[in-house]
Amino acid sequence: MRLRIRGLTAGWTRVPTVDGVDADVPEGGLTALVGPNGSGKSTLLKTVYRALRPRAGRRLLGEEDLLGLDRREAARRVGVLGQDQGGGFDFTAEEAVALGRVPHTGPFGGLGAADREAVAEALERTGCAAFADRPLSRLSGGERQRVLLARALAQRPRLLVLDEPTNHLDPRHQFAVLELVAGLGTTVLAALHTLDLAAAYADRVVALRAGRVAAAGTPAEVFAPEPLRAVFGLEGTLLADPVTGRPRLLTRPAGAPAAPGGSGTPGRAAHAPRR
């Protein structure tokens, strides 16, 4: 279900971290939220899953304003893979995924048949069923990240919010998580640090800088030389992956000297085909 953010202002101190942001997350696609450290990506996501109350602005999921929903209602619509999911308690993978049913269960928290089915399906779709009985402390980083994704899926959300889902993962698992997410068919809003991955998997990219939207559009538009320089201070070349045909982004520091035999025109983007 599509998400529209309008005039969103939020932050923890007097100076807002997110300042008057308008952004669109189209239905069914993956929208990547990119930007340098401290640009307001996490803050924006937290207002979407209601861990932070915005000072101004609206978040419309479909036609509903998230502000008008109570917390449980909102948590049934928005599933989250956040950055900090630790705590000193060693849940099993299945227990951790079952927590995704908290917004759906009654006052005593018992799991009904529908809840158990949602948990089993989420474990299955993320490939976690094989280690459902294992405690989180005995899973690898990639497995744990899939468990956290499974929890968000167990919420049966209409919008999936992912805050740096590829953090701490090796390259193979970074691709695995994004392949999985891109193949879900759910509307996804994901903060991504790795621009190349955003280029390869996002249908739409929103770039934040200092709490404001600096660029938004297709990967080809946002990762064009001018926005790349303005937002990230980087030169870049957008290429088409010779095997998959997906856009890939090569980045280099601004003003990097060209090697003899290089094209000498950093930042000239190849026109990448759209997926």
Partner: protein, 342 residues
């Protein structure tokens, strides 16, 4: 990992162990009474509430019965309060006494002793102890709260600070009184004891503990969600600040109730929840009932040891909870999955 023993079976076994330990413990003492005789006396008494006909009946019903009931509910209450506090501060080595509640109870009791002296009726000291624990809990809550949120680290720091302050106040009051009797009484609050348990207080404690356990068990999923931190909880539709406030109040009432009648018995609130997690995993829907039964069992055993170890002298039970508890913990750690306690 799923528990090696299926959960209903484990819970049943623990309940059976508590049910067996109580008459056994009641039977042991200066006047031994066989367990089947204990059961008969209790059944007689429950069917016809006539005064005790024999010395054995008097000992079983009036002296050891309330004491055993108090042991069961004190153990269950401390263990569950410990599990809740640990989830609140997201740290499995937290303890209900960490939040200044037992220090408040001691201060309240000592203040009452200083004010009323020997004239204090049987309900005055527990009442004052409960009031002290509640006041300490309220102070910790209000001081730790900033901008409507109860942050775990602040909660622990403020709890420790308030506890130390009250501990100092208690020591000062005791020194001022300087009578051996008062110091004896203070030792009771600091180490805990089930001596002198009587029905009215034991039943009041049992009722309050049962109600709070039911409330907390109903909120087990909220405890799970809080273990993920405020943002993780928010993502699941749980409002962490409000949930923490409710659960802190329930844990404070539970600790206050138990400490008021039995003193600040240590070890149970810290170790039993961890023992329960080793047996049934981290989910609180399982941890809370398992911890309650394990805590009850451990305290009945500790009380038995307190009464018999140096007969006829009775030891404060707080000295023995660790002695009785450590073998439980070692057995569970050795039998548990590798990877716990790393």
């Amino acid at each position: 990992m799923t528990p090696r023993i299926p959960f209903p079976l484990l819970l049943g076994a623990l309940a059976a162990a508590v049910a067996a330990a109580v008459p056994l413990s009641i039977g042991v003492g200066a006047v031994p009474v066989p367990p089947q005789e204990v059961v008969r006396i209790v059944a007689d008494r429950l069917s016809s509430p006539a005064p005790a006909a024999s010395p054995e009946a008097y000992i079983v019903w009036e002296l050891r019965g309330p004491r055993a009931v108090q042991a069961v509910f004190t153990g269950a209450g401390l263990a569950v309060a410990g599990a809740v506090v640990q989830a609140l501060v997201r740290n499995p080595v937290a303890d209900p006494h960490l939040l200044g509640l037992s220090s408040g109870a001691s201060t309240g009791a000592v203040l009452a002793m200083a004010a009323a002296g020997a004239a204090a009726g049987p309900l005055v000291l527990p009442g004052a102890a409960f009031a002290g624990a509640a006041a300490a809990g309220a102070a910790v809550f209000l001081l730790a709260r900033t901008r409507g949120t109860l942050e775990p680290l602040r909660l622990v720091l403020v709890g420790v600070a308030v506890g130390q302050l009250l501990g100092g106040a208690t020591s000062f009051l005791v020194l001022r009184q300087a009578s051996g009797d008062a110091q004896q009484q203070v030792l009771f609050w600091l180490l805990g004891s089930l001596a002198g348990a009587r029905w009215p207080l034991a039943l009041g404690c049992a009722a309050a503990v049962t109600a709070l356990l039911a409330l907390l068990t109903a909120r087990a999923r909220t405890l799970d969600a809080l273990a993920l931190g405020a943002e993780g909880a928010a993502a699941l539709g749980v409002r962490a600040d409000r949930a923490r406030a409710v659960l802190f109040a329930a844990a404070a009432l539970l600790t206050g109730t138990v400490v008021a009648v039995a003193g600040a018995i240590g070890f149970v609130g810290l170790v039993v929840p961890n023992l329960a997690r080793l047996l049934v995993g981290a989910g609180h829907r399982r941890v809370l009932p398992a911890a309650a039964l394990l805590g009850a069992l451990m305290l009945v055993a500790a009380d038995l040891a307190a009464r018999t170890a140096l007969r006829p002298t009775e030891l404060p039970i707080g000295i023995l909870t660790a002695v009785v508890g450590v073998p439980f913990l070692v057995a569970a750690l050795r039998g548990a999955r590798a990877g716990v306690g790393r």
